[in-house]
């Protein structure tokens, strides 16, 4: 795409084979989701008044999540992982998905597991990401399985790179300059481009905007119009919601609009960027939600172990049992939460340490 000879000296150190280098010079850039112009058009077409956005996950996913879309997953690693929405997507099915996120754990593993069990119901075509894993809990077994078996295409950026891509999209600009990726192999394989800065004359790395068709986000609090407050880490949630054509947001609690109007500075996602809002307590369980609950380490570990066993043995029985019992066998996320003892959820609330948040 970018027609120039600007680059770092990475080829002197790289082990990549020539055919693995993303050599798209001369070809038009392919957006893995809406182009900036398409995303802008969709935003302009929306009704901009304050309307009650509350709905059910079943209706929201049915309306917005279609085959072939780019699904932007908000949160970060094990924090505010939009698990309730992912369960509903798996129940309803969506094929040929492009996933975009910076770092995530269980959301992409859950989608990957669904693809392994029911490839005609859920499938991931490609992923633009920075990181897919469980951090202290370990490497993600299904990522390993899918990559070793060449079942997905990956486009690698840094955490800042993906965040900046969503940020560019949220700003309505087609790319953003960053000071990373250059001099690493990501410069050779991903879809960014090194250019010479017209002002400093120095090399600078551009990453393309990333507009998901649908963003899935979990927030601590929102009013019924979708004005969202986020406490603790914002992760890249405001940027992803604004970047996406449509956003489905789950919230721990709905708060009065009066509270929002008292402290408008606390609104991190404004209502026009939210298309569907669902009050879903524990909506990112087993992930953590600052001010509400800490993450459930044993739950992550149990699911990871089930996936690891499949990766090592090829036996899908336990994986299927998990999905049949906790996703396909549940009508909604409350049904799933109902399979976990109250004492456990209560303990997670205590483990968060009552982090202070502002609701009123």
């Amino acid at each position: 795409m970018v027609q120039n000879n600007v680059g770092s000296l990475i080829k002197n150190v790289s082990s990549l084979q020539q055919d693995e280098i993303n050599n798209t010079t001369g070809e038009p850039f392919e957006w893995w989701g809406p182009s900036p112009a398409e995303a802008r058009k969709k935003a302009v077409e929306k009704k901009k008044g304050l309307h009650d956005k509350r709905t059910t996950l079943k209706d929201a996913v049915g309306k917005y999540v279609k085959d072939g879309i780019n699904l932007g997953i908000a949160g970060f690693v094990n924090t505010r992982t939009p698990v309730a929405i992912v369960h509903e997507i798996i129940r309803q099915g969506a094929k040929d998905l492009t996933l975009s996120f910076q770092s995530n754990s269980i959301c992409c593993e859950l989608l990957a597991g669904a693809m392994i069990l029911e490839p005609d119901h859920v499938s991931i075509k490609r992923v633009e990401l920075a990181w897919w894993g469980y951090e202290v809990i370990g490497i993600a077994p299904l990522l390993r399985y899918l990559t070793t078996n060449e079942m997905i295409e990956i486009d690698d950026y840094t955490n800042y790179g993906m965040s900046a891509r969503f940020k560019a999209a949220s700003m309505g600009i087609p790319f953003i300059p960053t000071r990373d990726h250059g001099g690493s192999d990501m410069e050779l394989v991903n879809r960014g481009a090194m250019v010479e800065c017209p002002f400093t004359g120095e090399n600078v790395y551009l990453v393309p905007a990333c507009h998901p068709d649908v963003a899935i986000v979990h927030v601590p609090a929102a009013d019924m119009y979708g004005n969202c407050r986020i406490f603790g880490a914002h992760c890249t949630c405001p940027e992803i919601a604004l970047a996406a054509t449509y956003s489905i947001v789950t919230t721990e609690q709905i708060i009065p609009t009066e509270n929002i109007r008292n402290y408008p500075n606390l609104t991190e996602i404004p209502y026009p960027a939210v298309d569907a809002l669902i009050e879903q307590p524990f909506g990112c369980y087993p992930g953590a939600c600052y001010g509400y609950y800490w993450f459930d380490m044993p739950e992550f570990l149990d699911f990871k172990n089930i996936c690891d066993e499949f990766r090592k043995t090829g036996n899908k029985d336990k994986l299927r049992e998990y999905y049949d019992k906790y996703i396909f066998g549940c009508e909604n996320f409350d049904d799933f939460l109902g399979t976990r003892p109250y004492s456990k959820l209560k303990e997670l609330r205590q483990m968060d340490g009552v982090q202070p948040i502002l609701i009123d």
């Binding site: 000296l9 951090e135 250059g182 800490w294």
Partner: protein, 261 residues
């Protein structure tokens, strides 16, 4: 001398490397423990950035198990998101990147993408860059924690995730468009490494008592430079160990492993 484990030695050495009046951008695990220890000893005005977006958190609820952990935001002075953390870094407000990886080469380039096979069909795919690639690019100095093994200290990386000094060319980082000055220290439980200013190659600075430079060279695939001023690594005192074990990682998530004799 107190008995200590390899991870305790790494955390203690990491703490020694960090100076006061600086900001350290920490990865999960030992970097956080090292920074907590430094704050409690010689660097009371050292502050941490967690990449999910906090600056200057007070870790009074215990060790965060993830850089996005809610505990990593407790009593922070600034709490935003990833853009906030990395943009402070690009702007010049992060002195140290504190990262790990699967492979490192003599110029301090690090791989955390895959091992074996090819990029499109890897034998073992790791999670990916995460924050590491951006931290190594734009924090001022990069500190890496590695396991001292031949298969990790390699001639050639399978994939360059986090930029070091590249091929050693004086203008490598400049041509890459990155801002930080690059690799500073590599910490292992048996040796501490730095980088030669002239050649930008890895230099052995310190070895653990009882080992020699030759012992360390045997665990490294490429040829090490040896500092003319080679020192013994300082060992943690009982007091350091009790800080590490009781205050920093009381559950032993990262420190409680087998003990070095």
């Amino acid at each position: 001398m107190a008995e200590y484990g390899p991870f305790e030695m790494i955390a203690y050495t990491g703490s020694r490397v960090l100076e006061d009046e600086t900001i350290v951008f920490v990865g999960t695990g030992l970097p956080i423990i090292a920074s907590m220890h430094a704050q409690m000893t010689h660097a009371p005005n050292l502050n941490m950035i967690f990449e999910a977006g906090s600056l200057g958190a007070v870790l009074e609820q215990g060790l965060p198990l993830s850089v996005g952990d809610t505990k990593a935001f407790r009593k922070a002075v600034f709490a935003k998101g990833l853009c906030g953390a990395f943009e402070l870094t690009q702007r010049g407000y992060s002195d140290y990147a504190f990262i790990g990886g699967a492979q490192i080469d003599m110029y301090g380039n690090i791989n955390s993408h895959f091992e074996g096979g090819t990029y499109s069909k890897p034998a073992v795919r790791f999670p990916g860059s995460g924050g590491a690639g951006a931290m190594a690019a734009n924090c001022e100095k990069t500190i890496a924690i590695m396991a001292l093994e031949k298969r990790r200290f390699v001639d050639k990386l399978d994939f360059v995730t986090s930029i070091g000094f590249g091929d050693g060319s004086p203008n490598y980082r400049e041509k890459a468009g990155v801002m930080g000055s690059g690799p500073y220290r590599v910490i292992t439980n048996q040796a501490l490494f730095g980088f030669d200013e002239e050649t930008r190659r890895m230099v052995l600075l310190e070895v653990i008592p009882g080992k020699t430079a030759e012992d360390i060279q045997e665990l490294v695939s490429f040829e090490l430079l040896i500092s003319p001023d080679l020192k013994e690594m300082e060992e943690p005192t009982e007091e350091d160990l009790s800080l590490l074990r009781e205050k920093c990682d009381p559950e032993g998530y990262f420190l409680k492993r087998k003990v070095v004799k």
